[in-house]
């Protein structure tokens, strides 16, 4: 047995206890058994250590060797990430398929980034320039959507003594040489390697004053996310977590999307792979896949890699943040990650806390969400980048009082509560407007007013008030029937019905409705609230709700959702005019026949 080889002592599922590697470190990657399965050290004691193995351990036996690598679990960062799909430890799935066919076998070793592919590099510094970590020394037009910035890695500082000319290079060719203050020369390549468990550094946090627009009306209006914010979407099965996160991945105005399918369905990753390349980014018109990195540890893939997948994803997100981009990270589902944590912890014999989860569940979740945020990146100049994290939570039985949901709610600032009843009625997105919230309303207010209109906060407030009132009234109706309500309250029920039917519901499957730019969302809300105000005023003057519901403008309102993006401005103008006209003539008609309690002024 050489110095860097230990032996397996016991095996229980993904947890393997080993001996004989005195210098092994926590979180070091080890190769386990004769098949060299990939594992990571998660516990070190006097004579022994424990590794979690990222591959199926069937057939592994005590006495088999364990080799230390001296490396911690790291990701490769550089050109080639965009459009890729990786497993939970950043092995590219297409390459795995080439090696082992349609089913994933074990002991496969593949590089995350292609080392042979050449990328067009365009230098942006000259010899003699002073550079520090994070400074951009060149650019690679990686995809039609995004130009990747090549940065000076951490640990390198000094003067550029050589810089590659504009040409094609692989990610491991030296493109720059930097002389530090001791006169030592550092070779810089395009690729960086970063351990996944500690975040990439930044200078400072920056205020989150810009919304991450998702194109989903209920969210952008009532519980908006901020660029750099954190949000969670809990809900029982089939309530719409994945659809919503897919919608974010498709339509959110982020420059880079990292989507991690953590312990979920294989077909959902396939759906993304098949659909997203053919969807166009509304801004650039380029395929959405060109801005996307997918990480897939599906539920049938090894549990330990599930635990790692979240960190792999957020480290990739940080790399793009550091380049100055707004990144959106979607994790579906953080509950499966927590369960992986629970399973490993159980096998380690750690003392369980609530529902078997380890006591550190809350702190691990917090550490993960902490890696989101809007920051001033490492660099000599001022550069802002952000990571917005949106995590799905899958509470057992749809009951939000369970530990993962509760721990998550203590951390995140946006809460999109999915409602089983709404989902059962096919009311999608099944987000409960009354229990969901965003703590970013006030920081985003300025943006909303400047970019939409002075009236935005008022419109939002008024709609929420109507929905709230509607809920109360409906409880009464359940007791006494609708006949008992006065006309003014019936008008409220109708107003709420319009908000729900014509504004809140949004089909992810409809070609046009799937994406609602914020300008369209604003105009729609203005029309609807405009209508409800006119309706309330008319009812006050003695008009019956029934008469108002006959107005033909209601049909136009119902079809606002599906007005094409290039013509909605004109169409909404027309709807507003028609609405005004129809109300006027209705009042006139009733007033003429003396049916109003107040005269038309």
């Amino acid at each position: 047995m050489t110095e860097s080889t230990g032996r397996i002592e016991t095996i229980a599922g993904p947890v393997v206890k080993c001996s004989g590697l005195p210098s092994v470190r926590m979180y070091e990657v080890v190769r386990v058994g004769t098949q060299k399965l990939i594992g990571e050290v998660i516990e070190v004691s006097d004579k022994e250590f424990t590794a979690q193995v990222y591959e199926e351990t069937s057939g592994l036996a005590p006495g088999e060797p364990v080799i230390s690598t001296g490396d911690s679990l790291s990701v490769e960062l550089g050109p080639g990430l965009l459009g890729a799909i990786y497993d939970g430890i950043q092995r590219p799935l297409p390459e795995l398929r080439e090696m082992s066919g349609d089913f994933i076998s074990r002991g496969l070793n593949v590089d995350a980034l292609n080392k042979e592919k050449k990328w067009e590099f365009k230098p942006s510094v000259e010899v003699g320039a002073k550079v520090s970590p994070g400074d951009i020394i060149g650019k690679v037009p990686e995809t039609g959507i995004l130009t990747t910035m090549i940065m000076i890695p951490v640990g390198v500082q000094g003067e550029v003594v050589e810089i590659a000319s504009e040409d094609e290079y692989t990610v491991i060719e030296t493109i720059c040489k930097v002389k530090d203050s001791h006169g030592d020369i550092h070779d810089v390549i395009m690729m960086q390697r970063t351990p996944v468990r500690v975040g990439r550094g930044f200078k400072d946090r920056a205020p989150m004053d810009t919304p991450l627009l998702t194109g989903q009306r209920v969210i952008d209006t009532f519980m908006p996310q901020a660029k750099g914010g954190t949000g969670a979407i809990p809900g029982g099965f089939g309530t719409g977590k994945t659809v919503t996160l897919h919608q974010f991945a498709k339509w959110a105005d982020a420059q880079v999307v990292v989507y991690v399918g953590c312990g979920e369905r294989g077909n959902e990753m396939t759906e993304a792979l098949e659909e997203w390349p053919s969807l166009k980014d509304p801004k650039s018109g380029r395929p959405l896949m060109e801005r996307t990195v997918l990480i897939a540890n599906t539920s049938n893939m090894p549990v330990a890699a599930r635990e790692a997948s979240i960190y792999v994803a957020v480290t990739i997100a940080e790399y793009f943040r550091d380049q100055g981009f707004d990144v959106a990270l979607m994790a579906d589902s953080t509950s499966r990650w927590a369960e992986a944590l629970r399973e490993i912890s159980g096998r380690l014999g750690q003392l369980p806390s609530e529902e078997g989860y380890p006591a550190y569940l809350g702190s691990r979740l917090a550490q993960f969400y902490e890696r989101g945020g809007r920051v001033k990146t490492l660099a000599s100049d001022e550069r802002l980048g952000s990571i917005t994290i949106c995590g799905a939570v899958s509470p057992p039985g749809g009951d939000f009082s369970e530990p993962v949901t509760q721990a998550t709610l203590r951390i995140v600032k946006v809460f999109w509560a999915l409602d089983k009843d709404l989902a059962a009625r096919r009311f999608f997105p099944a987000i409960n407007t009354l229990t969901s919230y965003s703590l970013y309303h006030s920081t985003l207010k300025k943006w909303h007013i400047e970019n939409l209109g002075e009236d935005w906060p008022e419109l939002v407030k008024e709609s929420l008030a109507l929905l709230q009132k509607d809920q109360e009234l409906r409880e009464i109706v359940q007791l006494v029937g609708p006949d008992a309500l006065p006309e003014s309250e019936r008008a409220i029920l109708e107003a709420a019905r319009m908000i729900k039917e014509d504004f809140l519901t949004q089909s992810a499957l409809h070609e046009i409705d799937t994406y609602s730019p914020i300008g369209k969302t604003y105009r729609m809300l203005r029309v609807i609230i405009g209508f409800t105000q006119r309706m309330a005023a008319a009812v006050k003057m003695g008009v019956q709700v029934k008469r108002i519901l006959d107005l033909s403008v209601l049909d136009n309102i119902a079809r606002m959702k599906i007005t094409p993006l290039d013509t909605y401005e004109e169409q909404m103008d027309a709807v507003e005019k028609k609405m005004e006209r129809e109300f006027k003539s209705l009042l006139q008609e009733l007033s003429d026949s003396g049916l109003l309690s107040e005269p038309v002024v």
């Binding site: 002592e9 016991t10 095996i11 229980a12 599922g13 199926e56 351990t57 069937s58 057939g59 592994l60 036996a61 005590p62 006495g63 088999e64 799935l93 297409p94 795995l96 398929r97 349609d102 089913f103 994933i104 076998s105 029982g236 099965f237 089939g238 399918g261 312990g263 369905r265 294989g266 077909n267 990753m269 396939t270 759906e271 792979l273 098949e274 599906t298 539920s299 049938n300 893939m301 549990v303 369960e339 399973e343 369980p352 529902e355 078997g356 899958s394 057992p396 039985g397 749809g398 009951d399 059962a424 009625r425 096919r426 359940q478 006494v480 029937g481 609708p482 006949d483 039917e501 119902a558």
Partner: protein
Amino acid sequence: MSNTSIVYRSVSDVSGPLLIVENTHDVSYNEVVKVRAPNGELLTGTVLETGRGRAIIQVFEGTSGLDADITAVRFTGETMHLPVSTEILGRVLDGAGNPLDKGPPLTAEDHWDIYGSPINPYARQYPRQPIQTGLSSIDGLNTLVRGQKLPIFSGSGLPHNRIAAQIVRQAKIPGEESDFAIVFGAMGITATEAQYFMDSFEETGALEHTALFLNLANDPAIERIITPRAALTAAEYLAYESDLHVLVILTDMTNYAEALREISAARSEIPGRRGYPGYLYTDLSLIYERAGRIKGRKGTITQMPILSMPQDDMTHPIPDLTGYITEGQIIVGRSVHRRGIYPPIDPGPSLSRLMKEGIGEGMTRFDHKEVQAQLYYGYSEGCDLRDLVAVVGAEALTERDQKYLKFADRFEAEFINQGEFEDRSFEQTLDIGWDLLSDFPERELKRCDPDTISWAKNQNLYKSS
């Protein structure tokens, strides 16, 4: 790998389904173990934990009759494998894959590991071809798609077996005579239930395309851990090596999960909800995720697991975790059943998530999406009103509301309700849908495109005055 010629007589403990053997050498994790009981019977188990000269073994037949003195244990050095070939069709096997019929031992083209390996998500192809089951409540509202895993959630005393048998009888892809096979995995169902399925397969001549794995109620409980895996291994062979479209019925998954709970309890693992192990989700997904469709391969695996919900409780861990893994669920509802409707499928909580890609022009009919949405809307409005009427009486309802109330009744009686041998085509199902929607004025049909409505009028399907 362990030395397969050593016979251990060093059993130190027998507890529940577990056997602990001492002084073992390099026994590998999850390998198959042969156990000779004192009475000479040969039992099978697998290694759950190994190391430091000790192995913990789960014995599938249970450990009754085993002792610490005479019981002999031999490790085989291999994980559990099933002999696979197309000749498995037409055979009746026990829950571990050994012949129960009078036939010869299974021929083997190959031996496949029953645990399988995960399909590379990059190798999957998204399921898009609808299967016509002939049941409107499924085809019209929650279409089943090839390669999907769509469970039936039911309860004791509900006719889920009749529904499953009807689906097996009628399932087809219209206009495509295809190579079709059924793999049926029974876990802990009664002999009568098993016989019902066999008779029903036989009647329709399906039996020769069927492989049955039967672990019945009086068979060893722990064997149920193998049954679905053996069944799916056979299905994978049939689908991916023999290009067949395989429908896998697994029933009853609740019994499977209970076997898992028994092992977990015997190992004194920290229990999750209601005593089920914390890894139940992962374990179930290793079964359900074996459904699918793979790029470049002809065959597919569609799964319909059946499970009975204890106390009809959908939040019980078994249906709950199943719902979190499968691509929707079909709910057999007790109240629908009480109203005398067959099949008593409750549309509200039922859902087929893969339907959206599998319906419409070229697959079912172009108007399917809209009709489905409109029917759903109408039925859920109607059901709400039923609740209201119970309180305030029907007179308090508006004319519009009356329509919805009536619609809900007709919908149940004419659309959901159908004969056990009535095989409706997609067109027939959608036509019934339009007929019911004819009770509403055009303006009420907000889920339908005006063009679709005019088409339906022209076809004389939508007959509203």
